[in-house]
């Protein structure tokens, strides 16, 4: 029952938000987000005691055999927790941001949360597809109404890309549905135990992977991402990059690898090469960026590329690394956007070359940015290190030269992040940054949560790794170890 609450609370609270006044909406949305966080933490707790009690399975469309079937595995529980954490942090960071018609803004944000939770909880393919699409609709409106100058065209590109991908997935779902024995079924269990003809798996793979690759985004399907991140209002970018893109990886782990193992095996090498190209390509472009949002957007492509490469590698340590990195990357990127939002609120610019000397004028902001960036680089004792180290080990086990090429990214990420830090935090104070104020309480709180999690998981990752072990084991049963 708790799992249903994860979806219902944001859904109902979101619908109520539309009716509230703009001022009340903000507080109401924050309360709802905190409540959802508590529920997701509760779910994770119950999961450790008695996972079966989190499952709910009731008939939905009898004519099709579709069921409202939700439940959690350890990865889903962690991603729900990530979603739970991301929302209060996001709302805190934009607490003073004057959104026009903010009741609609917060309402749509909460509806998106309901969709995200639904994606992670669904154990029925049709239900999964429904939630998958429902995430796009609020984000479409959020980006198009409150976004930057080029928002309409950019957001539509984002929408068409993802919509097209998910329609292809729908065909895949229909096809697999008719392969299930007896009275057809959409359930994950039934899909998982299918023995699909290996030749069919090869093309079915792309029907599913198109949708996931666009979401992740894997090179060359990434072109929507930098534009959307840049044009979207920063709180929305936070959710998109911290949680929504994880849907793609989650889809691969939940619905692709267990369902089409032979298809995965056939395309594994090809996809990994694409991902590695994407890592290097995105890192190189990131070197040239002067806009903070675009810089972090490309940095995110590189990180997501590494995760999707390793998830196909089939190595135990690598897979374990991907799972923990999905959580950690979400937290780190959240921190980066909080800083961007704070800087943009104070200085009304995101241009790196226009900034400088923040360390003397707003030390707390500078320290927070510094710590989060260390996490992004993957320095030991930050949470970024744990996952990245394990992923590179896994990649090495799969193929040494791939690891060598992808390893370039470690150097490149250090170059562009440290150079950005140098320009933004150090350097001369200029006319613009002269009068900048330090972090306000709400921004400080948001960053404290993020930095705390980065350090905590970085120093002692074992509980998280143990928690995720269950998903790793299920996954490795389906993918051949090289």
């Amino acid at each position: 029952m708790m799992t249903v609450l994860l979806i219902l609370v944001p859904l109902i609270c979101g619908l109520i938000t539309f009716l509230l006044s703009d001022k009340a909406a903000r507080a109401w949305a924050f309360v709802s987000a905190v409540a959802t966080l508590l529920i997701s933490a509760g779910c994770a707790w119950i999961f450790m005691q008695d996972p079966a009690s989190l499952t709910l399975d009731v008939p939905w469309i009898a004519q099709l055999g579709a069921r409202f079937h939700v439940g959690l595995d350890s990865l889903a529980a962690i991603l729900c927790l990530l979603t739970g954490i991301a929302y209060p942090v996001t709302f805190l960071s934009c607490w003073k941001h004057p959104f026009a018609r903010s009741s609609q803004f917060y309402g749509l944000m909460l509806l998106m949360q309901a969709g995200l939770m639904g994606v992670f909880c669904s154990l029925d393919a049709l239900l999964f597809y429904g939630f998958w699409e429902l995430v796009i609709i609020p984000s479409y409106f959020l980006c198009s109404i409150w976004g930057g100058k080029k928002r309409i065209a950019v957001t539509f590109k984002f929408f068409v890309y993802t919509f097209f991908g998910s329609l292809l997935m729908l065909i895949g779902i229909i096809y697999l549905y008719f392969q299930t024995p007896g009275a057809h079924s959409f359930s994950w269990e039934a899909f998982k135990s299918l023995q699909v003809d290996p030749a069919a798996q090869r093309w079915l793979f792309w029907l599913f992977f198109a949708a996931f690759a666009i979401k992740i985004p894997v090179f060359p399907f990434h072109t929507w991402q930098p534009d959307t991140y840049e044009q979207a209002p920063t709180p929305v970018t936070m959710i998109l990059s911290a949680v929504m893109v994880k849907m793609g990886l989650f889809g691969v782990i939940r619905w692709l690898i267990p369902v089409l193992p032979e298809g995965v095996q056939y395309w594994q090498h090809f996809v990994m090469i694409l991902c590695v190209i994407g890592i290097v390509y995105a890192s190189c472009i990131a070197l040239m960026q002067t806009d903070l949002k675009r810089l972090f957007a490309y940095s995110s492509i590189a990180h997501m590329g590494l995760m999707s490469a390793v998830v196909f590698s089939g190595t135990e340590v690598g897979t374990q690394g991907v799972l923990i990195q999905m959580f950690n990357h979400g937290i780190i990127i959240l921190g980066l956007w909080v800083v961007v939002e704070a800087i943009e609120q104070k200085l009304e610019t995101r241009d790196i070359t226009a900034l400088g000397g923040l360390a003397t004028r707003s030390p707390r902001l500078a320290i927070a940015l510094f710590l989060v960036c260390l996490g992004n680089i993957g320095l030991p004792l930050t949470s970024g290190f744990v996952g990245e180290f394990m992923m590179f080990t896994g990649l090495y086990q799969y193929s040494a030269w791939m690891m060598a090429v992808a390893g370039l990214a470690i150097i490149l990420v250090a170059i562009y992040i440290l150079r950005m830090l140098q320009r933004v935090i150090y350097g001369e104070v200029n006319a613009l940054t002269e009068k900048v104020q330090d972090l306000r309480v709400h921004e400080w709180l948001a960053l404290a949560v993020v930095v705390g999690l980065i350090v905590l998981v970085g120093i002692y990752p074992k509980p998280l790794l143990d928690f995720l072990h269950q998903t790793t084991e299920t996954l490795l049963a389906f993918i051949p170890v090289p």
Binding site: W60, I61, A62, Q63, L126, Y129, G130, F131, E133, L134, I137, F141, S144, I145, R151, I152, F156, F159, V160, F163, F164, L167, L168, L170, I171, I174, Y175, Y177, F178
Partner: protein, 460 residues
Amino acid sequence: MKALIFTAVFGIFLMLAGLFIKRQGALRILAVLGMAAAFVLNLTDFSLYGTQATALFHDMLSVTRFGILFSAVVLGCTLVYLLLSGKDLGRIGHYTGEYYALIFFIVCGIMVAATFGNLLMLFLAIEIMSIPQYILAGSDKHNLKSNEASLKYFLMGAFSTGFLLMGIALLYGATGSFEIREMQLVGDMLDPMALGGIVLIAFALSFKVSAAPFHFWTPDVYDGAPTAVTSFISTIVKVGGFVAFIRLFHVAFGNPEVGNYWTTVLAIITAATLLIGNITAVFQQSVKRMLAYSSISQAGFMLFAVLAMNALAGEGILLYAAAYSLATIGCFAILLKMKDYTYDGYNGLARKQPLLALVHTIFLFSLVGIPATAGFLAKYFVLSAAVSAGGLLWLVILAVCCAAVSAFYYFRLIWAMYFKEGNAEVEEAEITPRFKGMLVVTAVLVILLGIWPGLILMWM
């Protein structure tokens, strides 16, 4: 089949009542009550007919549960239509009673099409549906475009009716029967005469449902006809054409060996319809004309239900009929209140009329096929019927690409309403609380069907 008789009689009654009752409001209420009564009468038929066909009127009609359910969908959608746009229909000219009466005749024709058991009844059904449409299309007598629409529709319609009759004659020659159940065409004895008949009938019905390449009349007629009429003929009448198509082809030509002959032709027609409808719609500047092309592209999706001969296809067309009709009738009801029919006329509607913009968005989502709206499950059912029939995967992938294209022209309206600055001019006096309430009910129906299609399908 009480509702069938009732609609025919009530149509005549309304026509006569128009002579004596001069107040439009009274006539409208009469029409709404009549339609509601027909709906209720039809409900009482549910217990009488099962999945096995019951022959009525000397085998002229062969009634199944599907036919009754389809009639219920059509009657329900017409009721929604009368409540939303009935006022606008009555105001087109001076003959209010007649307009409503013609609607009743058309509905009667659709009910025959849903239950015919004999090719002659098919012919009658198509004619009962078509002739009132020619009149309605030209009902705005002093408008040149309306006259043009009527004449064009009549000439094209007469032409395709000729095809239909010739096809029926050839089939009779080949099989010696008009009864669709007795034809029992079998693959190896399919002579050229029967084949010619099937192809001619397929072409004639493609005309009626505006499938490409027989669609050329559609944009002009839908654009020229008074908007309140377009709303009706592009939705309910079109799905009426589909039910005739499906019943004839699944019952009479449903043998898999016979199917091999016509499914290829129909698959090509479907592909052309999807491509032409969607691509042309992208370039329209007038919302009314866009909706005309959208009706062609939606017809492309409904053709999947004809192509796939299985139970899912039947359920699919039921859902599609309801989803497509409700959403499009809703779009037209709002369009009727707009002063400017171009996309720019919708600029900024969300500021001025938030509720109208919201329900309009729900209707558009349903037409695109976003989950949690009826349109999604409708598309899902017809596409999965095609996948399960086998051999049509290429067409399904094409359809999905077209659905992504369709997002462009539907979402252009959402841009206009929500993201663009502007001063959308609406007939303020027309936006009554009753009208808004009715729109909300329609939107709720669209969402309810999207979450729980059992609302219709449980009656099968």
